[in-house]
Symmetry: C2
């Protein structure tokens, strides 16, 4: 495997700030990866995503394999060229969306069969096919092993079976991935909220050995405390010298608490999805721009921000755009939210470097707990 | 009135290229005004609109008076500040949308009563109220007189009544507008497709005297030939030294033919509306990006364009975005189309300046007639 160098530049408690070196550019960590589901970060131009501070974005294997298909993207030069993003891309394995979006899925040892949520057509994902799609056809810089995702809550026996199967799929993913110069492969820890299963899953994944380690199966309804507890248990079991990635998380408060527990990478649709629905994330907590109290509020979301969406438009104007159902409302708030999530990462890296992360974290958590 | 200076810089046949000088900046003519219906040019950032070459945009009085209301925009500093556009804005009188969108309208000599298409609430527009909204509350650089718009086809007696009433409303609009240093008022010629009514309406409007003269009541279904004939009759009746504005038009071929007949300004929702529906306007005619023939077409819409939307994205990618229902599809094609309409104006100005407009026009008309 590529073993992209990962330099830890500073630590503060369990939190660390660092740099993942990849052939397509460095990734400053903690890193938030905007989600480009269908080869686009919804309602944003990629130069806005880049300028907001994103070093890496995420693509969804499930969506892309169904439309426009991985083969088509490959014939068009790969995902980077297709969507016009020259920096690193991480793709998920497709597993999570198969379990959350598709119909009539059947999990077998070989892989998972499912029907497309778009047109009902039949498809299959095996560990080998997922790697082929991610690494060979889409050309992801970081691929993820296929894993079995369980619902929350989940009976322990089912969660345990999923841990075993995910471990076997991890080994097959690694074998299929083989040796690559310029691409990396991450393994995934499962185990629901059962401490012994998380321990077992971590051990299996580390034993297999990957370029980075993800924690999956969180942010599925277990709640903030259970998430924090699971992370606190899991991250110390993962290799210190490799990046740790918390999948699908989350709210700013979740990100800050996860960084405090040693997580380096995140992805979530929250900034763009909530942006499309009128919600802005700010240093003072979330606000809904559709709210009547903003109809004549002439202040911008954040006058101190470098992001034009945060700085150059009044809340009154944003309120109007959402009431009128205008594209620009979704465009501006998605942009603002991505810029906020990236600014949160920048601040986290800075405060870790200055040894004041814990103070910064506590201040934010206090502020956000009272505002939420 | 302001009498914004209008310098005619070159002529080629009846076509002219020029410059309208306004306190908020010069407008190169022939000019295409992107339509910012609800205080936003749909799916575009205004810096994209500006960079595409627009010197002036249009705002819709009807939409803005209903939501967020003209009074609210006024309290928020006027339309330029509200939407973040420092350059000239022309507003329509609201009349056209009252006649095309609202319910239960009642035309009286004083003005028109109608119900909002949004919530059924009752409103009224008189010539005086329209001027108050446009010039005082929104702060338009160019306001339009209130006129009575008729359907197409229209019985001659009704069209004649509308001409008379529009002329009286024009006088009242002018009186209400009064003397202003930094704002201009345009009158409107009506008369459906009846030559004698167009002549009469032109005479009345010129007699009243405005800063510029619009031709209304076209592009309402009369067809390209009737539109050209009406223009050919009307523009020579309007003062040579003042800008002529063809309202709500139109397709590129209509613009080129209207320029050939001495029109200086245009507005139309076509580039943004068709952009949202997958249609791109190009030098080779319109194409629909949803078409299956583009699924693996790796070429951009126009590699020679300065506009990133035209140059940096493949048709295959645009096809994918429209099939996936992604915001970015509408964003990119609206941008491309506005850039194309503005490039068309730039080329018209250039060819008029070089005395080869007629050749250019004929070439385009031939090309577009066979492609349409």
């Amino acid at each position: 495997m590529a073993e992209f160098p990962f330099h830890i530049l500073a630590r503060d408690g369990a939190a660390r700030s660092g740099q993942i070196v990849t052939p397509r550019g460095d990734i400053a960590t903690p890193a938030f990866m905007p989600v480009g589901t269908a080869a686009t970060v919804k309602a944003l131009y990629l130069d806005q995503v880049r300028a907001a501070g994103a070093d890496i974005i995420l693509g969804n294997t499930y969506h892309l394999m169904l439309r426009p298909t991985a083969e088509r993207i490959h014939r068009l030069g790969g995902l980077h060229r297709f969507m016009g993003w020259a920096h690193p891309i991480l793709t998920d394995s497709g597993g999570y969306q198969v379990f959350s979006l598709s119909d009539l899925r059947k999990v077998k040892e070989d892989g998972v069969e499912f029907r497309s949520h778009l047109d009902g057509s039949k498809h299959a994902l095996t560990p080998e096919r997922s790697i082929e799609i991610q690494a060979d056809l889409l050309g992801a810089d970081i691929s993820m092993q296929l894993d079995e995702c369980v619902a929350n809550p989940c009976e322990k026996s089912l969660a345990s079976e999923a841990v075993q199967r995910s471990a076997r799929w991890g080994e097959r993913s690694k074998a299929a991935f083989g040796a690559r110069e310029a691409q990396a492969l991450f393994g995934i820890v499962q185990g629901s909220t059962y401490p012994d299963l998380r321990r077992e899953s971590s051990a299996r994944v580390v034993e297999t050995g990957f370029d980075g380690y993800a924690v999956g199966g969180l942010a599925v309804g277990e709640g903030h405390t259970a998430m924090c507890d699971t992370l606190e248990l899991t991250t110390p079991l993962l290799p210190e010298g490799r990046p740790r990635y918390l999948m699908g998380v989350g709210k700013p408060i979740d990100l800050v608490e996860a960084i405090a527990r040693g997580v380096d990478m995140f992805d979530c649709v929250l900034p763009t999805r909530s942006g499309r629905h009128g919600q802005a994330w700010t240093w003072d907590g979330p606000i809904n721009l559709k709210n009547a109290k903003f109809v004549e509020d002439d202040s911008p979301l954040d006058p101190a921000s470098d992001c034009p969406a945060s700085r150059d438009y009044s809340k009154a104007y944003l309120n109007h755009l959402f009431r009128a159902g205008e594209y620009l409302g979704a465009m501006l708030l998605s942009w603002h939210n991505i810029a906020f999530f990236e600014a949160l990462m920048t601040e986290a890296r800075k405060t870790i470097g200055q040894g004041r992360f814990e103070l910064w974290r506590r201040d934010l958590v206090t502020r956000w707990s009272s505002s939420d």
